[in-house]
């Protein structure tokens, strides 16, 4: 027989394996060898001999114990079964869960010995009951938000400075995230004690950090390695900006019309023109001092209205209302 011929050749191998692995490996080797050669008759003979050998052998088989789920009541305390995060234990979870890709015309595999259920993160330790218990224990460490600050406007009024920072939590080779050091400080200029000159100077000094529409100054610092250092640096920058803007340097007197942020009517070509026009409109023969005439003319209501309309046009741009106002002012002035 072919079987008898091949067995002795493989026997030394089989014996070696027996020492290390035991009964099961021996059976599988035999079966595999038999399968490859297309032999099945020898298997029955081999198997009868093997169980006796197994009982002598290396390991005692564990007796199957009844799973814990059998003894669980419906109203048990689940927080005692899963107090903290733990992997899925099929004998501890009394749910008929199935997971995995089904075999053809089959169902997903059951929970016993199912690796898919063990791989995924489970929230069995965070049932609503458990969360409530945890929160009850945590409540003594919390403080209440002051009831008086119930709207954003009130927060803004009493606490004008906003400091934004980020923190990161992730698993990786390092805990640190370099982006956590960045601090962004936001403050509205209307909440700071500034006069006109200081405000304009501060806006000029801050440059791109100032937003005209929302009147906010934003200072972002990331030059220092630690968050606290960046925060201190941001407060330092704010302090410096504030105090520097109150100073008036000697060269600031040389500010020309071209440097002005907004249009000012006094000493402008528009004022000169209108004064000239009005002077010429006066009837001839009246000799008065020019200074008095000027002041008198400037004090007139129509001139004031004209001044307002021109300032609005220049500062806000051309809109329907502005143009209408200008037209009315001119008509009144020139008695049209």
């Amino acid at each position: 027989m072919a079987a008898s011929t091949f067995c002795p050749a493989l026997l030394p191998l089989l014996r070696i394996n027996c020492k290390f692995n035991g009964v099961y490996t021996r059976i599988s080797l035999n079966r595999r060898a038999a399968y490859s050669l297309g032999l099945t008759a020898s298997n029955g003979v081999e198997r009868q001999g093997l169980p006796e050998r197994g009982n002598q052998g290396q390991r005692r088989q564990r007796r199957a114990v009844e799973p814990r789920t059998e003894r669980m009541t419906v109203d048990q305390d689940w927080t005692a079964v899963y107090p903290t995060a733990a992997s899925f234990k099929p004998n501890s979870v009394p749910l008929p869960v199935r997971m995995g890709y089904p075999v053809k015309r089959g169902v997903p595999p059951a929970k016993k010995g199912n690796l898919e259920l063990i791989k995924i993160p489970n929230f069995l330790h965070l049932t609503p009951e458990a969360i409530k218990k945890h929160c009850e224990a945590l409540k003594p460490f919390c403080t209440e938000w002051p009831a008086a600050l119930d709207s954003d406007a009130k927060c803004e009024e009493h606490f004008p400075i906003q400091v934004e920072s980020k923190a990161y939590v992730s698993a990786g080779p390092s805990l640190r995230n370099p982006n956590a050091r960045i601090i962004t400080l936001t403050v509205k200029l209307s909440s700071l004690n500034l006069d006109e000159h200081a405000r304009k100077k501060l806006i000029r000094l801050s440059g791109e950090r100032y937003n005209k529409d929302t009147d906010t100054l934003t200072i972002t610092t990331d030059s220092c390695p630690m968050k606290q250092q960046n925060y201190d640096y941001a407060m330092y920058l704010l302090t410096v900006l504030y105090h520097e803007s109150w100073k008036t340097e000697a060269w600031e007197k040389e500010k020309t019309r071209a440097d002005m942020e907004e249009y000012v009517w006094e000493d402008s070509p528009s004022q000169k023109n209108i004064l000239e026009t009005l002077l010429r409109m006066r009837p001839l023969g009246e000799k008065e001092e020019e200074g008095e005439v000027r002041e008198e003319l400037l004090g007139r209501v129509e001139v004031q209205e004209y001044k307002d309309s021109v300032t609005k046009l220049k500062n806000e741009g051309e809109t329907e209302t502005n143009m209408q106002q200008y037209k009315e002012a001119v008509k009144k002035l020139l008695n049209i």
């Binding site: 927060c155 990161y168 200081a198």
Partner: protein, 210 residues
């Protein structure tokens, strides 16, 4: 959890350890809030929590084997105020984020926090195309993609102590494979050195004359 996550929990714990004292527990109601009607200044005291000193190795097993009393000490240091606390969690698995969102929102409600917004920013898919074979066969490629799902929980108007408690609780129960980014917007008063300018008008005139 991985080892680095455990280290994260140690780092969080050490912050509270720093404030541990051997004082007897103060009554929780002894927090003082001074409200001065004239100037309406708000001074809030912070509550430091002294978590029991369980060795790090046993932290993940929880307190099932025995509890020690944790004392609450109230310090006079003013509490931080956060106008907004934004927690953004990222993961490759949307189901995990759904469960985590349920957990975080329920925890916030139980602790009495106001949930301003809970929403799902759109997912981000990063795709790459690689050659299928080690050598030649340029026409045959294989494509991989990495999907990152997001969930954002915004809490408005929360104090520093409460935020520390909530964030520590949330972060300790962060599942495997989930990353978190916390954005805090603290509100503060204008500091004293910015209230008045250093240089008064008189001294400016003096400087001008010089």
């Amino acid at each position: 959890m991985t080892a680095s996550m455990r280290i994260a929990s140690v780092r969080l714990l050490s912050k509270t350890r720093h404030y541990f004292s051997s004082e007897v527990a103060v009554q929780p109601g002894a927090r003082t809030v001074h409200h001065q009607p004239a100037s309406t200044r708000f001074v809030f005291t912070s509550v430091r929590c002294n978590v029991c000193l369980i060795p790090v190795a046993f932290l993940h097993k929880g307190r099932a084997y025995g509890t020690q009393s944790s004392s609450v000490t109230v310090t006079e240091e003013p509490d931080l105020l956060f106008q907004k606390l934004s927690v953004l969690v990222k993961s490759h698995d949307k189901a995990v984020l759904d469960s985590y969102e349920f957990f975080a929102t329920l925890a916030a409600k139980e602790l009495g926090l106001t949930l301003a917004k809970v929403f799902e920013p759109p997912k981000n898919i990063e795709r790459l195309t690689l050659l299928k074979s080690v050598h030649i066969f340029k026409k045959h490629r294989v494509q991989y993609e990495m999907r990152t799902h997001y969930r954002c929980i915004e809490i408005s108007r929360i104090t520093g102590s409460t935020s520390r408690v909530y964030l520590e609780y949330i972060q300790r129960n962060l599942p495997e494979g989930v990353a978190m980014e916390v954005t805090k917007t603290a509100i503060e008063k204008v500091p004293d050195h910015i209230q008045m300018p250093l240089w008064s008008v008189q001294s400016q005139e003096k400087q001008g004359s010089q």
